[in-house]
C-alpha cells in the first residue's frame, strides 16, 4: 500500500457493508432511514448496534420509542435504501410517499418490513455519543427471516452499500475455509519441516 493519510474528512475504504433499514414508530407514525454503520455486539444476550447522526429525525423517534427494527434487504430493493436514506421524515411521511408496507413487530412496537429478508426487533438498552454520531445498542427480542431466501443460512444476494450512492451484492458462498482446512494447513506445514 503506497498511500497514507493522517486525516480524511470521509473514509470508505472498509465498504461494502450490508445496508440496514432502521425503522421506528412513535405516536402511531413510522419512520425509516438507511444505515451502513451497524454491527453485532454479543450472542448472549443478543445485542446489535447501529450508529445514527443526532441530526437525523430517526434519532428523535428512537429516543421517544426506545425501540427500533433493523431490516435487511435483497439487492433488488436498493432503491428503497436510496429513497429512505436521502430524505428526511421531517420533510415527508416516508411510509406514504414510498408506499412502504410493514407488519407490526411481535415483541415490540416496531415496523417489520414486508420486503425484508430478515428483521431484528431491538429494544434500546444503551445509547452513547461517539464523535459526531450516537451509538444505539439494541437487545434483539425477535428475529424474522425468510427461510426460502437463505441457502444453508447464507445470504445469496444481500444488499450492500459500496459508498458514494453505489450499491452491490455478494454472490453467495464462494469459498470455505474452516477448522478442517486450518488443521490441514498446519499439518502440511509440519510435514514439510
Amino acid at each position: 500500500m503506497h498511500k497514507f493519510l493522517e486525516r480524511s474528512e470521509k473514509y470508505y475504504f472498509h465498504y461494502p457493508f450490508p445496508v440496514t433499514i432502521v425503522g421506528a414508530i412513535h405516536d402511531g407514525r413510522s419512520n425509516f432511514m438507511a444505515a451502513a454503520w451497524h454491527m453485532q455486539l454479543s450472542f448472549d444476550p443478543p445485542l446489535y448496534a447501529v450508529s445514527i447522526s443526532p441530526k437525523r429525525y430517526t434519532n428523535e423517534i428512537i429516543r421517544e420509542s426506545g425501540a427500533f427494527s433493523l431490516n435487511f434487504l435483497q439487492f433488488d430493493d436498493y432503491k428503497l435504501a436510496g429513497l429512505v436514506g436521502r430524505t428526511s421524515g421531517r420533510q415527508c411521511y416516508k411510509e406514504e410517499v414510498f408506499d412502504i408496507k410493514y407488519d407490526a413487530g411481535v415483541k415490540l412496537n416496531v415496523p417489520v418490513l414486508k420486503s425484508a429478508i430478515c428483521c431484528y426487533e431491538c429494544k434500546v438498552v444503551d445509547r452513547r455519543a461517539y464523535g459526531d454520531h450516537v451509538l444505539y445498542v439494541g437487545e434483539i427480542l425477535g428475529i424474522h427471516y425468510d427461510s426460502d431466501y437463505y441457502k444453508d443460512g447464507i445470504s445469496p444476494d444481500m444488499l450492500l452499500y459500496a459508498g458514494n450512492d453505489m450499491y452491490t451484492h455478494a454472490e453467495g458462498a464462494l469459498a470455505i475455509f474452516g477448522k478442517t482446512e486450518v488443521e490441514d494447513f498446519l499439518k502440511s506445514k509440519k510435514d514439510t519441516k
Copy 2:
C-alpha cells in the same frame, strides 16, 4: 417473512460482512485475529469500533498495547482470515507459522499488513463490555490504502465473511441511487398525481 424466533443461540442473518484482520503488537510480539463484528462510529473524529471476545488472546494484547490495526483484504486472501481466525496466539506465533508480512505503523506501534488493501491505525479511546464481547473504540490516526486497488473509491472485491466459515466478495459497483435519482422519483410521483 414466515419464520420468527424469540431466541437464537447464534444469528447470522445480517451477513455477509467485510472481514477485518485485527493486528496488535505487545512486547515486540505481534498477534492477529479475524473479525466480522466491526463498524464505523464517527467521521470527526474518525472513530471505528471492533468487538472482541474477552477469551481471545488479542483482547489481552490490546489491553496492554492500547492500539490495534484493522486490515481489510481482497477476496483471494480468504485463507489468511481462516488461519488467524481459527487459531490462538496462545498456541502459536501466527506471524511465523503463517508467514505474515507487515510494516510498522506510521503513527502507532501496530502491524500494517503488506497484503491488505487498506489499514486503519487505531488508538484505543474506549473499551466497554457489551454482553459476551468487549467493544473497542479506536480513533483512526492513520489510513493506509492501495490506490491502484480501489476504483473510484469503490472496492471491487473486498473479502466478505458469509458465516459458517464461508467467504464471498462483492462485484464492485452494480447500481447507483443517489440524490438525483431520489429527486427524479419524487418528481415523477408528483407528476402522476
